[in-house]
């Protein structure tokens, strides 16, 4: 499909001009496996709806500027991606068919790692694996914070406001200093970076005047080309642990116990309370326990818990620091969680050979891996979309969200596969809707379920932190207080920074004035 308002002849001319700038290899406009690699294979609706018309891959900022000149001339919509692994939220695909993916994977330099001040500066194409290997190879005693899939990128994940599992798990909080190319080609250094020869570019976030870094996340106001990210100094000790809880409604008490531990930083990392099936699906598949339709019955859930020695909830966190501090903190943590009847405690040595414990233990100390993808094997040939509302760290909030989401899942014939990831003052409740990729009936059911989730969560006062391409407009509509004042302000910024609307049309439900009509 062609970009809107562009004739085939104009499109071909634009591609030729892009080839002249980037070389033939890096303008991928022909049908074939390379262009197909920019589709969203997990889309619950027709993949054609977000089929990119081409992809282009510049090698540096100057090439990005030249691409922008051509895009402005032809009104060619561009969808920037960094590593392009945003699976569950749309993968590398754009919001709209006919958009050209601006693939920044060739810009993959680790520009600086500063061990003294514990930060790194990276370009878009740097994956977690890349940065980890760099740190290891040079024996640099700093930890990074990967999202669960290690092939994701330090920048791509951060600008989509993703999360990891070490004490630096809130990725955007650890960001400091950004370079952005605007739609008109202007290069902007944010905060301290705006002072020539800046000495504290990656040490102080705010600089002088308005602090703008946030507007370049989950948005379409610019193309981020460099980012500073704080890394965690390797602590003298590390001890990951698991606490299992037997009952579904224990999530209330677990969360109440957890809040003061988090606020007091006795649990310093982004800890997770993982539901039964999420925990199990890394190791076994659904058919091994139940071959009927609908959600797993209680009898099968009980067998699952007992076979795998896991709970209905499984709390993962870690101790960091000198032995004496870890020992002291553990006393408080253990005492606190013992208040929940049936709580069981495990350290690494107790869970030898358990792939779920092993990958979580790696993530909480910044070692990237890919184990969590095994969750998709729960249904054989699985795909997933994530529904991710934010919850306060309260027992009432957690229990209410859990009940709403579990009951809706069950009503629509799905298993509840969820976890609560506790940040600083909130919990990201991540519901993985795993469905059979090749089953149109299940895809339809997922779409119905997702709509119901958005509506019920909004009615109960919960907003989503991030969403799949297909639901960006729907989630944006739930942020409608004061006649969409927030989104109207986004639109004003969009019209000022990118009046032609060439950057990522529709990202997070933000459209330029001229393309408002394109909302689905």
């Amino acid at each position: 499909m062609l970009p809107p308002n562009l004739t085939q002849a104009d499109f071909d001319r634009a591609m030729d001009e892009l080839r002249a700038v980037l070389g033939r290899e890096w303008v991928i406009a022909e049908d074939g496996p390379r262009r197909a690699s920019y589709r969203d294979p997990f889309a619950p609706r027709d993949v054609d709806k977000s089929e990119p018309t081409a992809a282009v891959a510049p090698a540096n900022v100057s090439e990005i500027q030249q691409v922008l000149t051509i895009a402005r001339q032809y009104r060619l919509p561009l969808w920037p991606i960094s590593t392009g692994r945003n699976f569950g939220y749309g993968g590398p695909a754009p919001r709209h068919a006919g958009t050209v993916v601006l693939d920044l994977k060739r810009m993959n330099r680790i520009i600086e790692v500063n061990e003294k001040h514990a930060y790194a500066v990276v370009e878009p194409g740097v994956s977690y694996f890349d940065l980890y290997r760099y740190l290891q190879a040079r024996k640099i005693k700093l930890w990074m914070d990967p999202a669960a899939p290690g092939w994701g990128g330090v920048m791509g994940n951060l600008v989509d406001r993703g999360a990891g599992y070490t004490p630096y798990g809130e990725h955007f909080m650890a960001q400091c200093g950004m370079q952005v190319v605007l739609a008109d080609g202007t290069i902007v250094e944010t905060a301290m970076g705006a002072t020539p020869n800046a000495k504290a570019r990656h040490l102080y976030k705010y600089g002088h005047g308005a602090w703008v870094d946030g507007i370049f996340t989950q948005s379409n106001f610019g193309i981020v080309t460099q980012i500073g990210i704080w890394l965690m100094p390797e602590p003298p000790g590390y001890r990951p642990y698991l606490v299992t809880f037997p009952h579904e409604d224990d999530i209330h008490q677990i969360t109440e116990v957890l809040r003061p531990l988090k606020l007091g930083m006795l649990v310093p990392n982004a800890a997770t309370t993982v539901g039964l099936i999420w925990e199990a699906a890394v190791k076994v598949s659904r058919a091994q326990y139940y071959d009927g339709k609908g959600p797993l019955p209680d009898s099968a859930r009980k067998r699952l818990a007992s076979d795998l020695n896991i709970g209905n909830w499984n709390f993962y966190a870690a101790l960091y620091g000198p032995e004496a501090i870890m020992n002291n903190n553990w006393k408080v943590i253990e005492e606190s969680f013992r208040q929940v009847n049936g709580a069981k405690f495990y350290f690494e040595a107790d869970r030898g050979g358990d792939p779920a414990f092993a990958y979580r233990a790696q993530l909480m100390r910044g070692i990237p891996n890919m184990t969590e993808y095994s969750l998709l094997n729960w249904v054989g040939a699985g795909s997933h979309v994530d529904f991710s509302p934010i919850s306060p760290v309260t027992g009432d909030g957690a229990l209410k969200q859990f009940h709403i989401m579990r009951d809706l899942c069950h009503r629509h014939g799905f298993d509840y596969i969820g976890e609560f990831l506790v940040g600083w003052r909130d919990m990201h409740h991540i519901l993985m809707l795993v469905f059979e990729r090749n089953d149109e009936e299940r895809k339809r059911a997922v779409r119905e379920l997702f709509e119901a989730l958005v509506n019920e969560a909004a009615q109960a006062g919960y907003g989503e932190y991030r969403t799949h391409l297909d639901y960006m407009d729907a989630i944006a509509e739930t942020y409608h207080w004061n006649e969409r004042a927030l989104y109207r302000s986004f639109e004003m910024m969009k019209d000022a920074l990118d009046p032609q609307g060439i950057l990522a049309p529709g990202k997070s439900g933000i459209w330029a004035g001229r393309s408002h009509h394109k909302r689905s």
């Binding site: 496996p33 692994r85 891996n369 094997n377």
Partner: protein, 182 residues
Amino acid sequence: MPTRRAFLQSTLAVIALPAVGLSIVHSAIAARPLRFVIDGGCAVARRLADCAGATLAGDDVAVLIELLNRDEADAWIGLTRDAQRFIFETLARPRGFELRYAGTHDYRTGTLQHRVVGDLALIAPHTQALAAAGANWPTALLDYAALLSRSRTPGDSARITTATLRPPGSADYLTSWCWRRS
């Protein structure tokens, strides 16, 4: 169909990728090198590696990415669960690989159902070999490796069911595949 197994046994090495449950088996079958990717977390898939006499040589999915980037191997053949297939496919596609053969092997109904998609010359003999091998069906993949890698674009499919139960420690739904550099 000449068996390649004896030849493979003398030339294989494995890179195990426990992080994703993958193992990569190197081989220099025929004129152009092939590689095998095996789901290390699954007993049935490990049988293929055992049968090939493979040895361990690495432990990171980043190794897979690096190999795909610099490797001369022309074709990659896999026996993995579906998510691991997806990981490979996602890495292979943008590097110009094309799917030449795909199979699913499903124990979920109490029997074993093989469904294979490839070109006509391949499908019938390969399906028969899978069926004839019974519980040892992964070895049929090894025997047919050279043929799978030469398959043209998949267009034909066949299905066969055998009375084989899922062995302990095995996944109940596996995929086999061959990607070849275009």
